[in-house]
């Protein structure tokens, strides 16, 4: 395993410890430590990816290993953005271990099987992959926020203010952050799909080829489109929006991993292992 990858995993795990400490002791110093460690880990992670691309001269994402590394990177980055933008600190309890697990999963898959390298010289492919992963990361965060929402909603409804009531922020904040995550995820997903269509036209001569990944990506897009539509028209918010963002992320996960593992298609090459 590359030393930078090892350091990144280590920092993410330490950050997880910081956030767990924050959850239990409610001292800001724990959160500061957790956030600082995650930020350092993220920089390390970035250096790792850039270094890898510079040595091969190819954009990342050529096998399961690189794909997971990139997914973890996008996730940490999007979380840090949300952390500073909305000051939603407790979400680190979900984000830090999530990033650590993705990176550890990456360390368990082979690193030496690759898809055809000609795909990874095109900027369109990189653009497509980056937008997709940022979108997926935003959906993953929306799922985490949704889980926090459901926990907090349950403590308020059941009138037993236990461990979580004081530790989690208001329902309003959770709902609005979840919504914004989904909106930005949807925007990235749309851009990513568009870039993918453009490249498909260049590479295979057609925009759409009924590849299972394409079909499922379309399912994801339609799912979130419906979710946003319902929110804007009849006000799907609160509990229902939270549940939907969790289900939505499950569909994303299947599209990301399941399709490549269980179904075949031209995307399968990029996640070979």
């Amino acid at each position: 395993m590359h030393i930078l990858q090892l350091i990144t995993i280590f920092l993410y795990l330490l950050s997880t410890a910081g956030y767990v400490g924050y959850l239990f002791f409610q001292q800001n110093s724990w959160e500061k430590a957790g956030c600082g460690l995650l930020l350092t880990g993220f920089l390390c992670h970035t250096a790792f990816i850039i270094g890898g691309s510079l040595t091969t001269g190819l954009y990342p994402g050529r096998n399961m290993y690189q794909t997971l590394i990139l997914a973890g990177w996008a996730f940490s980055g999007v979380f840090l953005f949300v952390r500073f933008k909305f000051n939603l600190r407790v979400l680190g309890v979900y984000a830090a271990p999530f990033a650590a697990v993705v990176m550890m999963m990456a360390s368990r898959v082979p690193t030496d099987v690759f898809a055809d390298s000609r795909f990874f010289k095109s900027f369109w492919v990189f653009f497509h992959v980056l937008a997709m992963f940022l979108g997926n990361a935003a959906f993953a965060l929306a799922c985490g926020v949704g889980i926090l929402y459901l926990i907090q909603e349950k403590t308020i409804k059941s009138k037993t203010q236990g461990f979580f009531f004081k530790r989690l922020p208001s329902l309003e904040l959770l709902d609005s952050v979840g919504y914004r995550c989904i909106v930005s995820g949807f925007v990235f997903l749309t851009i990513g799909l568009a870039a993918g269509f453009v490249y498909a036209k260049i590479a295979w001569g057609r925009f759409w080829s009924w590849d299972p990944k394409e079909v499922w990506a379309a399912v994801v897009w339609l799912f979130y489109a419906a979710l946003l539509h319902e929110r804007l028209t009849v006000g799907w918010r609160g509990r229902r929006a939270a549940i939907m963002s969790i289900i939505g992320f499950a569909v994303v996960l299947f599209t990301f991993l399941g399709v490549n593992l269980f179904l075949k298609g031209h995307h399968g090459d990029f996640t070979r292992w």
């Binding site: 409610q26 009138k159 203010q161 208001s170 009849v234 006000g235 799907w236």
Partner: protein
């Protein structure tokens, strides 16, 4: 030796009839402190008076006499016979007094555990004492440490966390639902003391428009005027649910005033924005089944009481941590006090030895005839060396407390051994 003394009574020892007899207004307190300062037995003094306690904190070299003088002074100043409050008084001396002051400042001795006002009240009393110049080194240090410890307790323990009154608990819940209460519209159904209290809290949190619905429209109007709200008719409540966010209900109605069908029908036009019902009425006004509707939360008086009870239990648990912080502060203060006692003793001891040497030299020198300059210098060197050598071990003994944890004992030994307290 100076001793710290605290004489007072509080809500635990004295009923309100006695406390109100002895309570001092701000000006009275200053006058009383100034008068106490004039007493011979009292060196430094601060007087604390709140609705739950009257306490005199002082330093004295004759604590027994000071305690009696304070008691007679209180009786005289307040025109209350001494025997009426004598039994309620507690007198703490030395470390017990220090601990008491720290605990009071940290709100561990308060009626409502962890309530924040006491610290401000103590600071005000102390500021008044500073104006009078009635405090000195010891009480300045003690009170600064007390304020510091109180802040530490507040930031490091959860003693001040979470509402311990019904109306605050409701506000806290509102914040967890809506994030901010500013601009949230409120509907008051019926009127009652507790409901009005909650409304006042909400207004302080800059809540938005207030609607008041009462069975008798006129009474509703007068309430609405008081809080600058708008009165609506009782029958308009179902429609009003579409616009408001928080509903506080406290009617005398025997049946539910708001039922699930009222709420369900407005949720769509509200676009599922959350609704928070606070039902303070007994029997209840709001059908508890409403709580099952998505994005709608109903808390009745028992729910709020349950929240408050839980929070009180939490504070009690946190108080254990706070007591530990107080213990640490008391130990640190004791060490400081001991060092305070050590330094003057070292100074006094040196003076004593220097005086002895000087006086003996004074007697002997005239018999030696005229000495040359170098001979005089040699004598002066001998004098200095003699003093330093004699003082060397006693000084070390004082500084490390004779290897015992309590330095006051070694200070006492040295003072007796060298007869430093002339009057003793």
């Amino acid at each position: 030796m100076q001793s710290i003394l605290l004489i007072g009574l509080n809500h635990k020892t004295a009923p309100v009839e006695i406390r109100e007899c002895l309570a001092f207004s701000g000006e009275e307190a200053s006058g009383a402190a100034a008068a106490l300062k004039e007493k011979d037995s009292i060196d430094e003094v601060v007087l604390f008076s709140t609705c739950n306690r009257v306490e005199v904190l002082l330093t004295s070299s004759d604590p027994g006499r000071a305690a009696v003088e304070v008691k007679t002074f209180l009786a005289h100043f307040k025109q209350v016979p001494g025997e009426r409050f004598e039994k309620a008084l507690y007198v703490h001396q030395g470390e017990a007094a220090v601990r008491h002051v720290f605990r009071v400042a940290a709100s561990l001795d308060s009626l409502v555990l962890g309530e924040p006002q006491i610290l401000g009240q103590m600071k005000a009393s102390y500021a008044a004492a500073v104006d009078l110049k009635s405090t000195g080194v010891v009480l300045n240090r003690l009170l600064h440490r007390a304020f510091f410890t109180a802040k530490q307790v507040r930031s490091e323990t959860g003693i001040g966390d979470h509402a311990v009154s019904i109306s605050y608990a409701a506000i806290e819940l509102g914040r967890k639902i809506f994030g901010e209460l500013s601009g949230k519209k409120v509907l008051l159904v019926g009127a009652g003391e507790m409901a009005e209290l909650a409304i006042e809290h909400l207004i302080r949190n800059r809540s938005g428009e207030l609607l008041v619905a009462n069975r008798t429209f006129e009474r509703g109007m007068s309430l609405a005027q008081r809080f600058r709200g708008k009165a609506i008719r009782f029958e308009e409540i179902p429609e009003a649910l579409a616009q408001v966010d928080i509903i506080i209900s406290s009617t005398g109605s025997p049946d539910f005033v708001i039922v699930p069908s009222h709420v369900k029908s407005v949720m769509r036009s509200r676009r599922n924005r959350p609704l928070f019902f606070i039902d303070i009425a007994v029997p209840r006004d709001i059908d508890p089944a409403i709580n099952r509707i998505s994005n709608v939360y109903v808390y009745d008086i028992d729910d709020l009481k349950g929240v408050v009870d839980d929070n009180i239990q939490d504070r009690k648990r946190e108080a254990v941590k706070a007591e530990r912080l107080v213990d640490e502060a008391v130990i640190k203060f004791r060490q400081w006090m001991e060092n305070q006692a050590v330094v003057p003793t070292i100074v006094a001891l040196r003076k004593k030895i220097e005086d002895i040497v000087d006086s003996e030299f004074g007697k002997t020198m005239p018999n030696l005839g005229t000495l040359s300059d170098s001979q005089q210098a040699a004598m002066a060197r001998m004098k200095a060396a003699l003093i330093n050598k004699v003082l060397h071990y006693p000084t070390i003994f004082l500084k490390n407390g004779g290897c015992r944890p309590d330095k006051t004992a070694s200070v006492g030994t040295i003072r007796k051994l060298f007869h430093l307290d002339e009057d003793v």
